[in-house]
Amino acid sequence: MQTINGAQMIIEGLVRHGATTVFGYPGGAVLPIYDALYQNSDRIDHIITAHEQGAAHAADGYARVTGKTGVVIATSGPGATNLVTGIANAYLDSVPLLAITGNAPVPLLGKDAFQEVDIVGITQPIVKHNFVVRDVTELESTIAEAFIIANTGRKGPVLIDVPKNVQESEVELKGITATKPEVVPISVLSEIVQALKSAKRPFIYAGGGVVASDAGEELRELSEKLSAPVGFSLMGMTALSTDNPLALGMCGMHGKYAATVAKSECDVLLALGVRFSDRATGNISVYEKDKTIIHVDIDVSEHGKNVKPNISVKGDIKAVLAKLLPQLSDIKPSNSDWLARVDELKLGNARQEGDFTPQIAIETVGEFMADDTVIATDVGQHQMWTMQYYPFKMSRTFLTSGGLGTMGYGMGAAIGGCVANQKKRTVLFTGDGSFGMNLNELATAVSQNLPLVIVILNNGVLGMVRQWQKRFYGERFSQTTLGRKTDFVKLAEAFGANGFRVTNVDELKSVLAKLPKSPVVIDCRIDMDEEVLPMIPPGKAVDDMIITKFNASAGGDS
């Protein structure tokens, strides 16, 4: 058996579990790990970001694209606390992430040593599990366990805190791998088959669980077999191609009109890998009315947490659908009335009016991209418009912060997603506000020479918050008009990237037609009064949906 130190053990563990690229930032408490990375640079790549938060989001984006566990490394104290938003983001969107932090040496723990924080305590409510490794002999098995926890069942982040002296201690490499937990057999499928066979207006609601289990193909088959329209949660958006006629787009607060209304009118709702967030359901009692709800999710604690299902099944979506599909082989759906109704609803999907609307900008970018182009967003109106209008074709191509709604997610995610997708061209749709929270990562995009296209839908305001102020706070625009003078073209150039300003669709097209293979910032000037529509006000139901643009002089909706 080979004797190595703890830091080298970390590298061995990462390599054995398939990590080929990790993200992070060095510091005093992880010097041994960075030394081991240096010595193993032929086996594992490390990308240094501008800020640990960017590294955490990069690992998250990498994980969403590949399905593998993303890895981020940070030093103790401020390095570790800078990861917190990134870890919470991965937790709320069920993204497999492994965070490794250094800490003060074991004898100094608990003595408020330099850069000591209780990162295990701090992150405890936002991880699936976390560990402090005080004894180097436990390091190898802990890493193996961490990979299993992060990437089985409902996926999520795991943190391992490794005090510096543990990284320096000698230990034997044993070749430990952890065993995956047993998969419980799937039951009550016959009830589902019964419900689906008697459905007159079936509707499938597909979430992140479909994408996480790579069950897009099974979902397509199921929807065709049942002639059932499909709506998505934000996390489920890429489960089907947007050009599939049964794919209606996202349901919920800012969902597509047809998707949200069809979901409310269905008689059997088959929910696959969703958690029924408040943004997706609105008023629960209205939501549950007059329908049979079937909830399939691998996390039993989601069954009945927000919505009471009539039938619930625990299981991985791909495994459940593989069992379900053969049992539906003789089904002959007779729901042409329902499909006609859905087609009618599609006419209600609004287009934005104007010459250079966010919709036109997003659709135009889509025309220039490949089917497998990874699209990242930040958080705000631009995010919802991207969800509504970008022509997504393939699974795992949409990186967006759903549960936490993290402004500042986008640059890191786009970098991680680009690296994960063989450094192919990658797009970030961001807002002027959000970009201000993570534009430091332009430095990373430039140093890595990544072909990122950063489209700032620049409305000069914190548009999403402003929209709420307009609708619900009497147009008192408190702190949402930024009044900044940032020149994004010069900013891009200062970072060593290219920058362009566009004010109409022709200018945008000419920039897109000759994109370099390096980072580009496109400052896209749009109207600050454009709204995300439709909109269901918080806590309200589908009948309260706002469809038309706010008109101040008319005192409300036009």
């Binding site: 405890q124 409510p125 996390d299 039993v300 009945g304």
Partner: protein, 78 residues
């Protein structure tokens, strides 16, 4: 309605903290808590008993969240 949950828990750093924080975060007060070695010959596993108040929904939610904890080996309603 009162309900008591009995847990078998690995004796690790912070395990008790993880359990109590499930109650706190989901908004249920702990009325009584007891932690003892499950088996006198083996201090690796603790038996933790928690008495709390809540309706049927609370009871099921708490149980299912507790079941997800890595350090928790068994959850029983008593």
């Amino acid at each position: 309605m009162e309900f008591t949950v009995e847990l078998l828990v690995a004796n690790r750093y912070g395990a008790l903290n993880r359990i109590t924080s499930i109650y706190a975060r989901r908004g249920y007060n702990i009325d009584e808590l007891e932690a003892v070695v499950a088996d006198k010959t083996n201090s690796d596993i603790y038996r933790i008993t928690v008495r709390s108040k809540g309706d049927e929904y609370a009871k099921i939610q708490v149980m299912r969240q507790l079941e997800k904890l890595y350090d928790v080996k068994e959850v029983k309603l008593t």
